[in-house]
Structures are given as structure tokens and as C-alpha cells.
């Protein structure tokens, strides 16, 4: 699949904006699994003046039984300059070397997954060269 590269909008009033389209992926957990739909999602990232990268992700999940779930998350990525530079160069970096945490939210009309409408969740991110992996936990 041919996919668009990150869209570098450059300096905007709140920082440096880079929009990273999401072209696919998968998800799996004890109560749901499926794929990330290949069109329409993205991460509207903003590099702030204090060096923190703000993430603003929106994507659509499709479960293996064909329910659709809107997932959005706000997050922060922060770390030593050399580590962030390595990530920027597309190198694999141990996620314990930087701070990458998000707070996903979900919307669905599928009764089987309606519990997602009612939970607060947090995630740890791992920025792989091929794309991020989020391990999401429900706050009980």
C-alpha cells in the first residue's frame, strides 16, 4: 500500500505541527480485537516550545465482529534530546528511555462494546520505526 508521508506544516502559533496519517494497524485485548481502518485516521502532533510533543490522535477501530469504534487520544511524549533525535531519525529506541503516555477515549454504538463509552483509560506508547504501539489500560 502506498501511504502518504507525514505532513509537515511547520511553525504554527502553538508550536511545530506535523500530521501523521494512519494507514492501518491492529488491536487486541481480552474483550476486543480487530483492525485499525486504513483511511481517515491520523495523529495531529504538535511540538511545543518546551520540547514536549503533544499527540492528538483520531482513528477508527473495526472489531473482528464488525463493530466500529471511534478512538481518540491526547498524549505527551518527552525525553532526553538525544533519545528524541534518535526516534526522529527512525531508529528503534527502548520505550523506557522516554516518556510517552496518552489518555484514549472511545465512542461506539455497539452494545457489546458500550463499556468503552464509560471508562477512563491511559496508555503507554512505544514509538517503533514502523509506527506506534499503544498498550492501553482501563482505570478501574
Amino acid at each position: 500500500m502506498v501511504v502518504p508521508p507525514p505532513q509537515k506544516l511547520g511553525a504554527v502559533p502553538h508550536g511545530t505541527r506535523v500530521i501523521a496519517p494512519i494507514t492501518g494497524g491492529t488491536f487486541e485485548g481480552p474483550r476486543l480485537r480487530g483492525r485499525v481502518l486504513p483511511a481517515g485516521g491520523g495523529d495531529w502532533t504538535l511540538l511545543r516550545s518546551d520540547g514536549v510533543l503533544e499527540l492528538d490522535l483520531r482513528l477508527t477501530l473495526q472489531t473482528d465482529d464488525d463493530a466500529l469504534i471511534f478512538m481518540s487520544s491526547f498524549g505527551l511524549r518527552d525525553g532526553p534530546p538525544d533519545v528524541l533525535a534518535a526516534i526522529g531519525r527512525g531508529e528503534p529506541v527502548d520505550p523506557s528511555r522516554y516518556y510517552f503516555r496518552t489518555a484514549p477515549r472511545f465512542e461506539t454504538s455497539a452494545p457489546r462494546y458500550a463499556f468503552l463509552n464509560r471508562v477512563i483509560t491511559i496508555a503507554s506508547g512505544d514509538r517503533r520505526p514502523t509506527g506506534p504501539i499503544y498498550t492501553i489500560e482501563e482505570v478501574l
Binding site: T23, G29, M71, P95, A114, I122, T135, V139
Partner: protein, 207 residues
């Protein structure tokens, strides 16, 4: 200060239990390369060496502070497009944690929305003033829901054990004070308790 992962039932006091919900791999560069997640284990990360090595997969947390909010007279806007809107002004309060303490300035509010699925959405904005005169903007979105009789008791202004309902928030902070700039850089989670005179939020920093 650092506690074990909060999923540990022995570490419940003051903190929040969590369980893994799902693991999502988004592929902004090459679709389909990431990732066939191994197995169906709840700890899928264990099969994923780079993530399993450090805090990347196992999130710890530590107490940030407890915020006590005193509420004013609710402004009942009533039925609106997204549900039923009630605005609760914040008239004061205080906060205290290992690294900061002070008072809640009057002037904020919580823009509550009762949804059609009986979940109460919270949307709070307040200003904190530390005891050394720094000001911190705090906002959060949150969810509160529970059994109808419990929610009804809260509505009547009764004291209810907070373990009887779900009340969780995601506080965010903004400050220009160098001493407190760490607040600009962290994700936090709050456990709320509705009180007759307002609310108390115990906030943990996600490490």
C-alpha cells in the same frame, strides 16, 4: 515514592486499579507491517521484548496531590443537544501533595453533562494558587456513573462511599512557574469523590 503497577491488588490505597484493555498498533508509515500481536495473552507485551524491558509496558504511578473543591450554587441549563447541562461554579478549595500545596481560587467551574446513557461527563476548569504564589491552570474531563440508587443519593446531597460508583478523571495542568513546570509534562489520573459541599479528587501522576 514509586509504587508497583497499580494492577497489584496490594497497592490499592490511594491509587487506582487498572487492567489492560487493549493493545493498538497504528502504522503511519507502512500499513500492515505492524503488527500481528502475539497470542491472546492479557500481557501481550511480554511477547514484545522492546516494550517489555521498561516502563514502556508497565506503567507505574505515584500520588500527585489531593484537590478539594468547594462548589457554589448549580446553574441548571437543562436539556441541550448532547444531554442535560448543569454548570457548577467553584468557589474555593485547597490542594496538597508531596510537591505542591495551596488553595483553589474562586472563579472556575465544572460544566457537567448528563448523557443519554446516564453517564455524567465532567469538564472542569479551575485555577490553583500554590503556597509560594505560583498559579496553575488545571482542567479535566472525567466520567461518573453508578447504580441508579447511588447516583440518586448523590443527587440528594448525601454522603456516599466513593467505592460505590465510578468517578475517574484525566487532569491536565499548565503553569509558567519553573518550580512546577513538571506539571506541563505529565499525564495524570484522578479518582473523584462527590461530597455534599463539592468534590475531592485524588490525583496520581502516571510515570
Amino acid at each position: 515514592m514509586t509504587r508497583p503497577p497499580l494492577g497489584d491488588p496490594d497497592e490499592r490505597d490511594g491509587g487506582l486499579d487498572r487492567r489492560e484493555l487493549l493493545k493498538a498498533a497504528a502504522a503511519p508509515v507502512v500499513a500492515g507491517v505492524v503488527c500481528v500481536l502475539a497470542g491472546s495473552s492479557q500481557r501481550a507485551a511480554a511477547a514484545d521484548p522492546p516494550a517489555a524491558e521498561g516502563r514502556g509496558s508497565a506503567m507505574n504511578s505515584k500520588p500527585l496531590m489531593t484537590v478539594r473543591i468547594l462548589a457554589g450554587t448549580p446553574q441548571k441549563i437543562g436539556a441541550v443537544a448532547h444531554g442535560s447541562r448543569i454548570i457548577v461554579p467553584v468557589v474555593g478549595g485547597d490542594f496538597e501533595g508531596p510537591r505542591l500545596r495551596g488553595k483553589v481560587l474562586p472563579g472556575g467551574a465544572d460544566w457537567l453533562l448528563q448523557r443519554s446513557d446516564d453517564v455524567l461527563e465532567l469538564d472542569l476548569r479551575i485555577t490553583l494558587q500554590t503556597d509560594d504564589h505560583a498559579t496553575i491552570f488545571m482542567g479535566f474531563q472525567g466520567l461518573r456513573h453508578g447504580p441508579p440508587e447511588v447516583i440518586a443519593a448523590l443527587g440528594r446531597g448525601e454522603s456516599v462511599d466513593p467505592s460505590a460508583y465510578y468517578f475517574r478523571t484525566l487532569p491536565r495542568f499548565e503553569t509558567s512557574a519553573g518550580k512546577y513546570a513538571f506539571l506541563n509534562r505529565i499525564i495524570t489520573v484522578g479518582a473523584g469523590e462527590t461530597r455534599p459541599d463539592g468534590a475531592v479528587h485524588r490525583i496520581d501522576e502516571i510515570l
